[in-house]
């Protein structure tokens, strides 16, 4: 099989684990993996590292969602009515 990519274990492992190889290159690389210790090792570490990183994913706290909604609504209202304190100013004497 024709070698499609330069031999760079870091870059290739990164692309492979991110699922960014085309099908043809992926097939070549998977064959290559069975023969190359360096690429095998880097792919194994990258795959594990990705799992660890994914494990760190967190959902935003519900309170923060509410706070953001409130802040955006307030900001939208200020854009229309002016800042809140202006609405409480005394009318000027004529």
């Amino acid at each position: 099989m024709i070698v499609e990519m330069p031999h760079d274990p870091e870059i290739n492992a990164s692309l492979y684990v991110s699922g960014e190889f085309t099908r043809r290159v992926r097939r070549w690389f998977e064959t290559h993996l069975l023969e190359c210790d360096d690429c095998w090792r880097e792919v194994w570490l990258a795959r594990l590292g990705r799992r660890v990183a994914e494990h760190a994913r967190e959902g935003a706290p519900a309170a923060l969602r509410e706070k953001v909604r409130a802040v955006v609504h307030l900001s939208g209202r200020e854009a229309v009515d002016g800042p809140w304190w202006r609405r409480f100013r005394r009318p000027r004497r004529s």
Binding site: E10, I11, A13, S14, L15, V17, S18, E20, L33, L34, D37, W40, R41, E42, W44, L45, A46, L48, G49, R50, R51, V52, A53, E54, H55, A56, R57, E58, G59, A60, L64, R65, K67, V68, R69, V71, V72, H73, S75, G76, A79
Partner: protein, 172 residues
């Protein structure tokens, strides 16, 4: 207008929160950064600067805010050598059990010990789900640089689990 904006952007809240968590350290700063991101986006929305894709747009705003003003205000993170990260004992079930044994805070700390550029590349690709090409655009760096940073970050996190790389024969 607020309702339309919130309807389009609230789906990005987890994304913005996860990016913020890797840009500023304390939970208070994270919450402030998330709010600032939404306010900046809302202002742009009001000026009819609306994106084709909301996710990368919100991520860019968050990254820009986080990397400029907020980073100056927050205490700069201590980037310790990776050797200092406490590793977990190797377990019989190679990955799943070891992963389960790591509590969220340890993992969060481990990510903070990565150099900032690696941490951001990891966050954008593995947590936020952007492609490496999109990440390169967001970070303003060549794609090859992102791929290297991503790999080094992943490798450093993998070493946390202290697992031996299996022989190729075993996996065949």
């Amino acid at each position: 207008m607020e309702d339309e904006f919130l309807r389009e952007t609230m789906g990005c809240m987890d994304l913005v929160y996860n990016i913020s968590r890797r840009l500023v350290r304390s939970e208070e700063d994270v919450q402030d950064l998330v709010q600032e991101t939404y306010l900046a986006a809302f202002r742009a929305w009001g000026e009819r600067r609306r994106p084709r894709k909301v996710d990368p747009w919100m991520a860019t705003i968050c990254l820009n805010l986080g990397r400029s003003a907020w980073r100056r205000r927050s205490r700069r993170p201590t980037e310790l050598p990776l050797g200092d990260i406490e590793t977990m004992p190797a377990l019989s079930d190679p990955e799943g059990e070891a992963l389960a044994a790591i509590d969220r805070e340890t993992l969060h700390e481990a990510m903070w010990r990565l150099p900032e550029e690696q941490r951001i590349a990891l966050t954008l690709v593995d947590l936020a789900g952007f492609s490496t090409a999109e990440t390169a655009q967001l970070m303003g760096t060549p794609r090859g640089t992102v791929l290297s940073r991503l790999h080094r970050g992943r490798r450093a996190l993998a070493l946390l689990l202290n697992q031996d790389v299996p022989e190729r024969k075993e996996a065949r």
